[in-house]
């Protein structure tokens, strides 16, 4: 049997840090970084006598997310204690939600190879993040505990085990991430750990309906690692089953250096969390009025926006999906389109620039659209110069790069660097006439059938115009004058 004889079944659990200003149960800042234990207070330190004070904004963001994903938002939900001992968990329990989460059901829309699917969710609940264990803080190998992150609010979003491939998993995560970023509840940062994903992976023989034993895979902090981890784990489980072994239900960590998953050492006995309702917090009540206010405030979500681009602007699914992956990018695109004129042609050209050249510059610089010196107006201006023939393709690229770097106006850059093409038909004609007159032999051979000589003539005309000839125009005039 081979891997292809098996069906992989995936469920994903995303922990998304909420973009509130303060932690879920205390008024400490959620700002990232800082020296250890500089963003703490008695409550998030878990000192004796403290009590959690629920941040109302966390509830609002949870409800907003539930509405965006089509969940059933519960009028009453309950916090619960998940009890276990670990140094980054100061109280010895995590305040989470167990039997009665704030949202149930819902789905995340994905599109793969042009096929749309809706991946059902099990639930969404609120919980607090743990602190961080830091390794090797002293010569004796001691570890350190930093509680800056303890108490940062998390939404845990759990999918049904309905994903059938790594590609679907990645598509699901990208779609969910884009939705959360559009809502303004999460910043989508995998590296910094504000958007975390654990995968539940199991395999079963293709065609079977009996699910295999699943393993939970943690510590995948990029899409690339996620892919590698799941692929490794699937191979591992398949090999195990083929050799007659059984998959043990366990939690495994992905090791990016080795490209392997291995069992986590420290969570033995962690299975009995002794959940019980959190007595220090009354049940969470979500009033219908709050739900309606939040529903009315929902922004246009990525998949709806992409559908609108396909419908109204005739953009391809590929182009549309790329644009809506980040809200700021799509906002930028539409602002530039407003300046250019909302036609399918302009949309297509603009999409190419935003998804192509600007995406490249953004990746290299690490800047997001709000920080770009290329404003929508400046990009539109550049495209108008291109459309008018003032700039050729290569010239336009240079302009965009320079504007990205310096924030100069496109027109200024063209002038300063002499990038303007010669598009005056009369001037081109004169140059062509001069070139043809100077190369009668080549003209003869071209007219005799040597079509390749066109390139020679184009090169000569470009030389004569110091490279500024509008290529399309040069070609057209040459062909006309060469006849044939």
């Amino acid at each position: 049997m081979a891997v292809s004889d098996f069906q992989v079944v995936l469920g994903l659990e995303v922990h998304a840090q909420l973009l509130t200003r303060t932690k879920i149960f205390c008024g400490c800042t959620t700002a990232f970084g800082g020296e250890p234990n500089t963003h703490t207070c008695p409550v998030c330190l878990g000192l004796p006598g403290v009590l959690p004070a629920l941040n109302g904004r966390v509830v609002e963001m949870a409800v907003l997310t539930g509405l965006a994903l089509g969940c059933r938002v519960k009028e009453r939900s309950v916090f619960a204690r998940k009890n276990y001992f670990y140094p980054d968990l100061p109280k010895g329990y995590q305040i989470s939600q167990y039997e009665l989460p704030i949202c149930e059901g819902g789905a995340v829309p994905i599109a793969l190879d042009g096929v749309e699917r809706s991946i059902p969710l099990t639930r969404i609940h609120m919980e607090e993040d743990a602190g961080k264990n830091v390794h090797d803080v002293a010569a004796d190998g001691s570890s350190g505990v930093d509680l800056n992150r303890a108490g940062v609010p998390l939404l845990e979003i759990v999918s049904e085990p309905e994903l059938r491939s790594v590609d679907e998993a990645v598509a699901y995560l990208k779609s969910l991430r884009a939705i959360l970023m559009t809502l303004g509840v999460n910043d989508g940062n995998l590296q910094e750990g504000s958007f975390r994903c654990d995968a539940n992976v199991s395999v079963m023989p293709r065609g079977s309906t009996k699910l295999g034993t699943r393993c939970e895979i943690k510590n995948m902090n990029s899409f690339r690692f996620l892919r590698a981890a799941i692929e490794y784990e699937v191979r591992r489980q398949v090999e195990l089953v083929e050799e007659g072994g059984t998959v043990v239900q366990e939690t495994r960590l992905f090791d990016p250096d080795r490209g392997e998953t291995r069992p986590m050492r420290s969570k033995e006995d962690a299975h009995d969390y002794r959940y019980f309702p959190e007595p220090d917090l009354p049940p969470v009540r979500v009033a219908p009025a709050l739900v309606e206010r939040l529903r009315a405030s929902l922004p246009e979500l990525p998949h709806a926006r992409a559908a609108r681009y396909r419908r109204d602007l005739a953009l391809s699914a590929y182009d549309a999906d790329l644009l809506v992956a980040e809200k700021e990018t799509a906002d930028f695109f539409e602002a530039a389109l407003d300046a250019l004129g909302r036609t399918p042609d302009a949309a297509k050209r603009l999409a190419n620039w935003v998804n192509g050249e600007l995406a490249r510059l953004a990746n290299e610089s690490g800047l997001s659209p709000s920080a770009w010196k290329v404003t929508p107006a400046r990009l539109a201006a550049t495209l108008r110069l291109l459309e008018a023939g003032t700039l050729g393709g290569p010239g336009a690229k240079q302009v965009v790069e320079e504007v990205f770097r310096t924030g100069a106006e496109p027109g200024e850059v063209v002038r300063a660097r002499g990038l303007a093409q010669v598009s005056d038909e009369g001037a081109i004609e004169a140059a062509v006439d001069a070139v043809l007159a100077a190369s009668p032999g080549e003209v003869e051979r071209y007219r005799a059938g040597n079509a390749k000589l066109l390139g020679f003539f184009v090169g000569q005309v470009m030389k004569a115009t110091k490279g500024k000839g509008n290529p399309a125009l040069v070609n057209a005039v040459l062909k006309r004058k060469l006849g044939g």
């Binding site: 303060t22 234990n37 109302g56 140094p87 001691s142 309702p277 009354p282 009540r285």
Partner: protein, 97 residues
């Protein structure tokens, strides 16, 4: 209801308590006696009863906290009672993951 020593040890492990053998025996007996007493609850019919997990009367919902930052403790204050530290981190024996 008689707790075995194995069960006593399992519970002690869950609770991160290291009991001496005398304590294990003593607790097995004492806890069993207490559990015998609480077993009388099983005689009650509670099938139609909601648990009173939250003592505050319904209809008294508290206002939730506003999302306004409050001053944090200075790290020296946060660590003032720390039995062991490394810089501004709490120090613990090596954690192996």
């Amino acid at each position: 209801m008689s707790l075995t020593l194995d069960e006593v040890r399992r519970i002690a492990r869950l609770a991160r308590l290291r009991l001496s053998p005398e304590e294990e025996r003593l607790f097995a007996g004492q806890l069993s006696a207490i559990l015998d007493h609480v077993a009388e609850l099983s005689a009650l019919d509670v099938s139609a009863v909601e648990p009173m997990t939250h003592a505050l009367a319904a209809g008294d919902p508290p206002p939730l906290r506003a999302d306004e930052p409050q001053p944090c403790l200075a790290p020296e204050e946060a660590l003032a009672n720390a039995p062991a530290r490394a810089g501004t981190a709490f120090r613990v024996p090596r954690i192996i993951e």
